[in-house]
């Protein structure tokens, strides 16, 4: 039964796509309604709740002093974790992150890391001994599609509000976390040569291929990831990258730059 319904839904959506339409009336490159609420969690050093259509992702940032990695003795450490808790979707299961959760966490992490958004050297307390550890914890609350973009935006939004809790640890006064760039993830799916951004869960369920592009404020690319068991042609990739950087700029300007 489930499969029959899935097939019908697939046909329905595909026929719409052929007419250039999506089920909720959006253009192919249009994001769903979007909001970013900051600092909801006072126990966290920074936090942001992103709503993307019905999807909801809460990101909390905690900081504490700790040991640096031996090969980067004078740089702070970023640790990113994502919890795809079973509250958020009938397909999520309790237990340690599975490969979907790990991939999501690693992509969010890569966006922050590769864009050099955080000045890690400014987070050294005593070289080789003590640096700030930044924990970015992504908590998915409601998965109605494209939680990766929501998580990535939530992460940088939370970092932008983060105060380094120096006073709590007797390390001077609190100060804002030094953030130097605003990486944004934008994700498109491909289906029958249609490219579509910000897929909802129905759209995700029929597409075999997804491409996420992480881009920086200067319009460059700082990360990419194809996922799914489909293929992409070179020109499709170029097309997605072009739109992705544009979309990222819009999102950055609208939601993340003061």
């Amino acid at each position: 039964m489930t499969n029959v319904i899935a097939e019908i839904k697939k046909d329905y959506l595909y026929n719409l796509f052929l007419k250039g339409e999506r089920a909720d009336g959006r253009a192919f490159d249009q994001y769903r309604e979007f909001s970013v609420e900051r600092n909801l969690i006072s126990k966290a050093e920074g936090s942001a709740l992103v709503k993307l259509g019905s999807s909801q992702v809460l990101v909390g940032v905690k900081m504490q002093p700790g040991e640096p990695f031996p090969d980067t003795p004078n740089r702070g450490v970023i640790i990113t974790n994502a919890e795809l808790v079973p509250l958020a979707s009938p397909v999520f299961e309790p237990g340690p992150p599975n490969e979907t959760g790990i991939e999501l966490a690693r992509l969010v992490d890569r966006g922050v890391r590769e864009s050099k958004a955080i000045d890690l050297e400014a987070l050294c307390i005593t070289p080789g001994k003590q640096v700030w550890i930044i924990f970015i914890d992504v908590h998915i609350l409601d998965d109605c599609g494209n939680i990766l973009d929501a998580a990535s935006i939530g992460a940088i939004a939370a970092l932008l509000t983060t105060k380094v809790p120096a006073s709590k640890f007797g390390l001077g006064e609190d100060y804002p976390l030094p953030v130097k760039d605003i990486p944004i993830a934008t994700t498109a799916i491909e289906f029958g040569d249609v490219i579509m951004f910000d897929p909802d869960s129905d759209e995700e369920s029929i597409a075999n291929t997804k491409l996420t592009v992480l881009s920086t404020a200067d319009g460059s690319i700082c990360g990419m990831q194809k996922s799914g068991t489909g293929v992409l042609r070179q020109e499709q990739i170029y097309r997605i990258v072009d739109i992705a950087c544009e979309k990222a700029k819009e999102i950055r300007e609208k939601f993340l730059e003061e």
Binding site: S42, G60, E83, P90
Partner: protein
């Protein structure tokens, strides 16, 4: 004004008869209940109680995996209490610890008595509670949210469950202890109950004479009754807005 010294710090829990946050001894913290806050879940509820922020989701009745957990004559109920890493002062490692296993167990046992599990043999009703911010009283906040989420999911219930703790600080029995009172107080006693006074959860930590225990129990029961009214109102509001499905809630009231 009473004083108590513990761990080298002097904390005054009362100032001119009022508590650190201005409450009277028999008052609970501001309580906010929102029904139906999640799209994917079959039922959901967000609860804020003082500094606590919790969200509950219900999925089911649905198929049980792995199958050997199935019960031939009734639905099983699962309850997962989970704290977000950033919900507490010092970051918590993700995943369940011994405390959350215990709280999941007693919370499940607090709700199961009112669920008509026999209606759904071989099924599971899953209740998931996420603590997004913790400030003492997360288990009771979670049960309050879960109870409303079960109603929101249309799960047939004999009644609501309402939960509240009483505590003892500076030798005074107080309702709904907050973090400071919980950390440095003398006792904590969370309960859960039906509107007709059947106790479904009872835990106690600390030190209470038998007399104090009875006073704490009376106070906690009063708290549960008041919380019940707010739960009820939140459901009626939600379903009046929608102009439908009220039947579910009313059925719950009657039974």
């Amino acid at each position: 004004m009473k004083m108590i010294a513990m761990d080298g710090s002097n904390i005054s829990f009362f100032k001119e008869g009022l508590r650190l946050d201005g409450r009277r001894a028999d008052e609970f913290r501001p309580l906010k209940i929102e029904v139906g806050v999640l799209a994917r879940a079959d039922g959901s509820c967000y609860v804020e109680m003082g500094g606590n922020k919790v969200i509950a989701a219900v999925y089911g009745p649905r198929e049980v995996h792995p199958r050997h957990l199935q019960e031939a004559t009734r639905a099983i109920v699962r309850y997962r209490y989970n704290m977000a890493s950033f919900s507490v002062e010092e970051r918590k490692r993700p995943g369940p610890d011994r405390r959350s296993y215990e709280l999941s167990k007693v919370s499940r046992e607090a709700l199961e008595p009112v669920i008509f599990t026999s209606y759904y043999p071989r099924s599971v009703i899953d209740v998931f509670v996420e603590v997004l911010q913790a400030d003492a009283g997360t288990r009771t906040a979670g049960i309050n949210a879960a109870s409303v989420a079960l109603a929101d999911a249309g799960i047939p219930m004999k009644s609501m469950i309402s939960a509240c703790a009483a505590g003892k600080v500076a030798d005074t029995i107080v309702l709904d202890p907050m973090k400071e009172e919980d950390n440095f107080g003398q006792a904590d006693m969370p309960i859960a109950m039906t509107p007709t006074g059947q106790i479904t959860l009872l835990q106690m930590d600390g030190h209470l004479t038998k007399d104090e225990f009875q006073r704490a129990m009376e106070l906690a029961i009063k708290g549960c009754r008041d919380i019940y009214e707010i739960q009820r109102k939140s459901l009626i509001e939600k379903y009046n807005q929608l102009g439908s499905e009220l039947a579910v809630v009313q059925e719950a009231e009657v039974l």
